[in-house]
């Protein structure tokens, strides 16, 4: 996983609110609410997403102390996904509908019967399919309140951000240069200077030689 070996790819966030003093007491339970649980085929689940202990991704009952080292919380994310071919699903559905009509001596299946058979087939096909697992990590520096997410894809980052915010009830904001600049400009009251510099600077294509 990212922080433990190999090349690192990271997006940086700031935690906007102050960390509650009770975090070390409440975090274990908070994390358990969103801990990774294997896909439940019987419920027709196709995906599972949740926290893991990056030092032991199979452990399901880890605590705050297991993932905190000094000021750093190292938390893993696991996503399991099952997918089957829609072409195969449609072909097997057609077969199942025909077999059912024959067995029950029906000329036509009702909408409810079709839905029930589709659900049954989905569960059956999910059981036959192996899940694909993907992992990511984050490091939360609880001194500086900076969070380094070991992922850079927008969809995955947003999903991890949502789960972090729901787990700890703390808001995150990515540290993009535009946002840092906006904050600096607002604090220093440099709106006008930004506009003037943009107009005076290199916004337009550079003129060919001899034109100026």
């Amino acid at each position: 996983m990212a922080f433990q070996s190999g090349g690192l790819s990271v997006r940086r966030y700031t935690v906007l609110e102050e960390i509650p003093k009770s975090l070390s007491q409440t975090a274990t339970l908070a994390i358990r609410r969103y801990v990774f649980r294997p896909i439940d085929d019987a419920r027709g689940e196709k995906e599972s997403f949740g926290w893991v202990n990056p030092r032991n991704v199979l452990e399901q009952s880890f605590s705050y102390d297991d993932i905190v080292d000094g000021p750093h919380m190292l938390l893993g994310v696991r996503r399991d996904k099952k997918a089957f071919s829609p072409v195969l699903f449609k072909a097997r559905r057609r077969e199942l509908f025909e077999e059912t009509k024959k067995a029950r001596k029906l000329t036509k299946l009702s909408r409810q019967q079709r839905i029930a058979l589709e659900e049954q087939l989905t569960i059956e096909m999910l059981k036959e399919t192996s899940s694909q697992s993907a992992f990511a990590e984050l490091v939360w520096d609880m001194n500086s309140n900076i969070l380094l997410m070991g992922a850079t894809g927008n969809a995955l980052c947003e999903r991890i951000q949502e789960m972090f915010e729901a787990t700890f009830n703390l808001k995150l904001r990515p540290i993009y240069p535009a946002l840092v600049g906006a904050q600096y400009i607002a604090q220093q009251g440099l709106e006008e200077e930004f506009a003037l510099a943009s107009a005076a600077g290199v916004a337009a294509p550079v003129a060919p030689v001899g034109e100026d």
Partner: protein, 174 residues
């Protein structure tokens, strides 16, 4: 003090700052006139391919240049002449015999494929801590360089003279 914008609005309004910063860094590196960050004045910065240029607003054609010498390629001057901005580049920071190599995305400051000067050691926890500290150091240096850039970018007079440098580089290949 003016009211702060909502994050999405601020991101859209100031989206050019990241690519402007990376382009400024490239020009200063090409001119060997990059002011060192306060915490590491002797920092050596090198820019390598792949370089990705895009027009302002990320629209129009993108130019990708590969290779260690990409920053010195004539296509770089050509891209600058067309008003394109550098939006992604492989960057090397070197200080005290340590080298950090990483790809920087100018709009998000995402660091990708970072190689950190951390020796492999048996203690996994200590190794992770060292990698986190090393990565934090990269971000700290980047933040310092970005702050230096911002003070130039937000001063109409100095930014105009910065523009003259870009034009000089762009014309060099004409």
């Amino acid at each position: 003090m003016p009211e702060q914008l909502a994050p999405l609005e601020a991101f859209q309004k100031y989206a050019a700052l990241g690519p402007d910063f990376l382009t400024w860094l490239l020009v200063r590196v090409l001119e060997t006139d990059l002011p060192g960050p306060p915490s590491e004045p002797a920092l050596k910065v090198d820019i390598q391919g792949p370089l990705l240029f895009a027009s302002e607003g990320g629209e129009a054609r993108k130019v990708t240049l590969a290779g260690e010498e990409a920053a010195a390629a004539p296509e770089v001057q050509s891209a600058l002449r067309q008003g394109k901005r550098l939006v992604r580049a492989r960057i090397l920071f070197t200080a005290h015999e340590d080298t950090w190599a990483f790809t920087l995305d100018a709009e998000t400051f995402d660091i990708k494929s970072a190689k950190l000067p951390v020796p492999t050691i048996a203690d996994a926890n200590q190794f992770i801590q060292m990698r986190i500290e090393s990565l934090s150091r990269v971000y700290h240096l980047l933040d310092e360089l970005y702050e230096q850039f911002l003070s130039l970018r937000l001063d109409p007079v100095t930014w105009k003279s910065e523009a003259a440098r870009w034009k000089k580089i762009a014309k060099a290949a004409s």
